[in-house]
C-alpha cells in the first residue's frame, strides 16, 4: 500500500491513565470519556485480538478516524503491540488517520468510471477544492477520496458526497455539486 501517512495533531487535552485487563497502566493523551468509549467497543468484541479489524471499524465509526492515541488504547485492550495495530490501520485503505471533511467527496475510479472519464472529474474536484486526494480542506468542509467501484456502473462516472450518489458526472458539473454543500 502506497499510502502517505499523515499523523493528525493531537486534538485531545487531557492525560488519562488506562488500566488494561492485565493490570498494567499506560498514559494516553485522551479525555476520559473517549477512552471509555473505546474500552466499551473493545469489550463488545471480548477484547479478542482476532477482532482487531471489527474493533477498528467501530472505532472509526465513532470518531470518524483513528488517530495514534486511539490506536494506543485499542492495542492495550486487545493485548497487541501498537505497531501491529498501526500496521493494520495503514494497510487497509478504509481506515484513515486524518479526519475526513464534513462532506467527504469520493470519486469512483473503477474501470467503468475510468473509461467514461472519471479522471477528468477527479482533476476538476482537485482544482475546485484545491486539495489532493486523501486530504481535507483547511476549513474541514470537504475531503477527496478515490474509491473502487460502487457498482453503479450504469451511472458512470459516479461521485459520492457523503452517502448521496451523483451519476453521469461531467467535469462541468463539478462546480454545481460542490455548490450544493457550500451554503
Amino acid at each position: 500500500m502506497n499510502q502517505k501517512i499523515n499523523i493528525a495533531p493531537a486534538v485531545f487535552e487531557y492525560m488519562e491513565k488506562v488500566t488494561g485487563t492485565d493490570g498494567i497502566e499506560v498514559k494516553v493523551n485522551l479525555p476520559k470519556e473517549k477512552i471509555e468509549k473505546i474500552n466499551g467497543i473493545c469489550d463488545g468484541f471480548g477484547n479478542e485480538p482476532g477482532e482487531l479489524i471489527n474493533v477498528l471499524h467501530e472505532v472509526q465509526h465513532a470518531f470518524g478516524y483513528i488517530p495514534a492515541e486511539v490506536q494506543d488504547v485499542v492495542a492495550h485492550n486487545l493485548h497487541l503491540p501498537v505497531a501491529q495495530v498501526y500496521g493494520v490501520v495503514t494497510f487497509y485503505t478504509f481506515f484513515s488517520m486524518i479526519p475526513k471533511g464534513e462532506h467527504p467527496v469520493s470519486v469512483c475510479t473503477g474501470t467503468a468510471c475510468y473509461v467514461r472519464g472519471a479522471e477528468r472529474v477527479l482533476e476538476e474536484f482537485r482544482k475546485e477544492l484545491n486539495v489532493e486526494v486523501g486530504e481535507t480542506t483547511p476549513d474541514g468542509k470537504f475531503s477527496i477520496n478515490c474509491l473502487r467501484c460502487v457498482g453503479a456502473c450504469g451511472l458512470a462516472p459516479v461521485v459520492l458526497v457523503g452517502e448521496k450518489v451523483y451519476g453521469r458526472v461531467s467535469p462541468d458539473g463539478v462546480k454545481a455539486i460542490i455548490g450544493e454543500y457550500k451554503k
Binding site: 479489524i53 471489527n54 473509461v115 474509491l147 450504469g154 459516479v158 450518489v165
Partner: protein
C-alpha cells in the same frame, strides 16, 4: 404470494438505489394506500434486475410489464393508468433501439433473450428482506434434501458430477475442493464465503448478496454438512453497506426459523454464520490473504502449501468459496448434476454472471451459459457500442485479466478459451472499450491500480509492477523508446513467474495482452509520438488553423512561454518545442482557430523554429 392480485417489484439494487428507486418505492406504496388498493396490490423492493443502464426498474406481475427509468413523479400515473385502468404507460416502456417499438415485457427484450439465470434466479423477483418469499421460491429446500436424504459423500459426488468450477477467477472444481476439506479429520473446520469483490467494474457478488442472501446462507450450510464444519464466515467488503444490512437481516431470520443454528431440520447437524468485514484491500480476495484479514491481521498472502483446506482460519481446515459459486449450489442439488452439466461447454459447465460496463449501450448484470460468444454478449445482449462507435476491445478479468479483440468475437467463452486468448475469466467484469480508448493508457490504469493495491510482501510484485507502471507512464508521455517495449515484455514475464500470490502472478496481464494485441498503438506512441485516440494529453498538440486565424495577437500575448509567433493580421504559429500545453491560447482565441490535434505537426514546427 397469491393473496395479492398484482405485484409491483421495484429494483432495490445499488445501481437503481443510486437513482432514487427508494423514493419510487415509497411513492408507489403511498399511492396504493391512497387509492385503497392495499389488499390487492403489493409493492416490494427486490434485488437487482441486471438492466442497470435504464434504472430504476419497475416490474409488474402478473403481466410482466417492464418499466424503465421510472421517476418518483411517475408513481401516480402508473397506479392510475396501469393498475386501475389496465392500460400500460407506454412512455416508460423499454424502446427497442432497432425497431423503435415499445417492448412490453422483459421476455421480449434483447437484453434478456439470451440470458439464463441460475445464480441470479431470485434477483429481481423476491423481497430479499423477507425469508418467506425466499422459501416460497424453494430456499432451504436443497438443504433439507441433503440433510435428510444424502450423506456428505453423496453430496460432494453430486457437486463433482455437476462440473461446477470456482467462479471467483481461477476455476478450481468446487466438488474437489470440498472433498479435500472433507478428507481432513480435524475437529473444527470452517466454511468461508469470499465476498470481497474488489475487481473494479465487477458487482455480481454484491448483487447476489443484495438480491438473494438466503441462497448463500443455504449453500454455506450445505458445504458445512459436506466437509464437517459447524461454523461459517462471510468475509464482505465494508464498502457494501446494503449487502451487509440484508445479510444481517437474512441471518437473523434464518436463525429465527431454525434454518441456521442447532439441529437444523431436526437432524444432528448444527451450523451458524457470522460476518467479517474487509477494509478496502484488493489483495484480500486472495484466499490466504483473506484468512489473515479475518484473523485481524494485515491482509498479506502466504505461500501455498499449506492450502487453506489443510491449515486456514486459526490454523484449522478452511474451505473458501466465492459468492457466485455458492449461489449455484442449491439449484444444482434441487435440479440435479446432469441438468447443470448439460449447460455450457465440455470443460466449463453451467452459466457465468458478467458485469457488463464501459462503452456499451446496455450496462448491467447478465448471466449467460458458458460457451456463448463475445459477439452475442456485446451486440445482442449489450445492444452494441455506445453512440455507434467502433468496437475496440473487451477487458475481462479486471486488473488480472487481459483484452479480447475483434478476432476473439466469435470464440465461445469458457475458462480455457479465455486463458488461451491471453485473458482470464476472473470474477466476471467485462469492460467494453471503443475506438476512443487508448490501450496503453488502459494498461497503465490497471498497473496503477496494482501498484496501489500490491501488499508489498514480495519484491517482484512490489517493485516490478512499479517499474512497469513508470515505463508505461513514459510511453504515454511521449518519452518512450523502443527498448521500453522489450523491457515491458521481459519484466512482465518475470513478475508473472516469480510473484508469491495470484495477484502478482496475474498483474502484468493487462500489459502483456495489450502488447500482443495492440503493438501498433505502442509503436505509434513510441515512434510517432502519437496517440490515435487522443487520450494521452502529452501527445496532443495545439495547432492554429491558417484559415481561421485573423492575427489578432490575443494568443501570443497570453502565452506564458512565448511559444507563439506571428505579426499582426498574419497567421500565428505555435512552436511545439516550447509549448507547455497549458491551453491558455485556446481559451483566449475568440475565433475558434486553435484546436487540439493528435498528429505531431512536423512541418509547422519545423518552420516555426526559424
Amino acid at each position: 404470494m397469491s393473496r395479492y392480485k398484482m405485484h409491483l417489484l421495484v429494483c432495490g439494487g445499488t445501481g437503481c438505489h443510486s437513482s432514487e428507486s427508494n423514493l419510487v418505492y415509497e411513492m408507489l406504496r403511498d399511492e396504493v394506500e391512497r387509492k385503497g388498493l392495499k389488499g390487492d396490490v403489493q409493492v416490494i423492493r427486490t434485488g437487482c434486475f441486471g438492466f442497470c443502464e435504464k434504472g430504476p426498474i419497475l416490474k409488474i406481475l402478473p403481466d410482466n410489464t417492464f418499466y424503465t427509468q421510472v421517476k418518483p413523479v411517475d408513481a401516480k400515473e402508473i397506479i392510475d393508468e396501469h393498475i386501475i385502468k389496465g392500460r400500460r404507460v407506454y412512455r416508460l416502456l423499454y424502446t427497442d433501439p432497432e425497431t423503435e417499438e415499445h417492448v412490453p415485457d422483459s421476455k421480449h427484450m434483447g437484453f434478456y433473450k439470451k440470458q439464463l439465470r441460475i445464480a441470479l434466479r431470485n434477483c429481481g423477483s423476491i423481497d430479499p428482506e423477507n425469508i418467506d418469499e425466499s422459501i416460497a421460491r424453494d430456499a432451504y429446500q436443497a438443504l433439507g434434501k441433503v440433510l435428510t436424504g444424502y450423506t456428505p459423500r453423496e453430496t460432494i459426488d453430486l457437486v463433482k458430477r455437476s462440473g461446477l468450477r470456482g467462479r471467483g477467477g481461477a476455476g478450481f472444481p468446487t466438488g474437489l475442493k470440498w472433498e479435500i476439506a472433507a478428507r481432513n479429520d480435524a475437529a473444527q473446520k470452517y466454511v468461508v464465503c469470499n465476498a470481497d469483490e474488489g475487481d473494479p467494474g465487477a458487482f455480481m457478488d454484491r448483487s447476489i448478496l443484495e438480491g438473494d442472501p438466503h441462497s448463500i446462507l443455504e449453500a454455506m450450510a450445505i458445504c458445512g454438512y459436506c466437509i464437517g464444519a459447524t461454523k461459517g464466515l462471510i468475509y464482505i467488503r465494508a464498502e457494501y453497506p446494503l449487502a451487509i444490512k440484508r445479510l444481517k437481516i437474512a441471518i437473523a431470520q434464518a436463525q429465527e426459523y431454525g434454518l441456521l443454528g442447532d439441529h437444523i431440520f431436526g437432524t444432528g447437524f448444527s451450523f451458524d454464520i457470522t460476518l467479517r468485514y474487509g477494509a478496502g484491500a484488493f489483495v484480500c480476495g486472495e484466499e490466504t490473504a483473506l484468512i489473515h484479514s479475518m484473523e485481524g491481521k494485515r491482509g498479506e498472502p502466504s505461500n501455498k502449501p499449506p492450502f487453506p483446506a489443510q491449515s486456514g482460519y486459526l490454523g484449522k481446515p478452511t474451505n473458501v468459496n466465492n459468492v457466485e459459486t455458492l449461489a449455484n449450489i442449491p439449484a444444482i442439488i434441487l435440479k440435479g448434476a446432469e441438468w447443470f452439466s448439460s449447460i455450457g461447454t465440455e470443460r466449463s459447465k453451467g452459466t457465468k454472471v458478467f458485469a457488463l460496463a464501459g462503452k456499451i449501450n446496455n450496462v448491467g448484470l447478465i448471466e449467460v451459459p458458458m460457451g456463448i460468444t463475445l459477439r452475442e454478449i456485446i451486440y445482442e445482449i449489450g445492444g452494441g457500442i455506445k453512440n455507434g462507435k467502433k468496437f475496440k476491445a473487451v477487458q475481462t478479468g479486471g486488473p488480472s485479466g487481459g483484452c479480447l479483440t475483434e478476432k476473439h468475437l466469435d470464440t465461445p467463452i469458457d475458462y480455457e478459451s479465455l486463458t488461451a486468448a491471453g485473458s482470464m475469466m476472473g470474477s466476471g467484469g467485462m469492460i467494453v472499450l471503443d475506438e476512443d480508448d487508448c490501450m496503453v493508457s488502459v494498461a497503465k490504469f490497471y498497473l496503477g491500480f496494482i501498484v496501489e493495491e500490491s501488499c508489498g510482501k514480495c519484491a517482484p510484485c512490489r517493485i516490478g509492477n512499479k517499474r512497469l507502471h513508470e515505463t508505461l507512464g513514459r510511453i504515454t508521455e511521449g518519452k518512450g523508446m523502443q527498448e521500453d517495449i522489450e523491457k515491458l515484455r521481459n519484466l512482465g514475464s518475470v513478475v508473472k513467474d516469480t510473484s508469491l500470490c495470484g495477484l502478482g502472478q496475474t498483474s502484468p496481464n493487462p500489459v502483456l495482452s495489450t502488447l500482443d494485441n495492440f503493438m501498433d498503438e505502442y509503436m505509434e506512441h513510441v515512434h510517432d509520438k502519437k496517440c490515435r485516440s487522443g487520450q494521452c494529453r502529452n501527445l496532443l498538440y495545439y495547432v492554429i488553423s491558417e484559415e481561421d486565424c485573423i492575427g489578432c495577437m490575443a494568443c501570443k500575448r497570453v502565452c506564458p512561454t512565448h511559444a507563439i509567433s506571428g505579426e499582426k493580421k498574419e497567421v500565428h504559429v505555435i512552436n511545439q518545442d516550447i509549448c507547455i500545453k497549458c491551453g491558455a491560447c485556446m481559451e483566449k482565441c475568440q475565433f475558434d482557430a486553435i484546436s487540439l490535434k493528435n498528429d505531431y505537426p512536423r512541418e509547422v514546427a519545423a518552420i516555426s523554429n526559424y
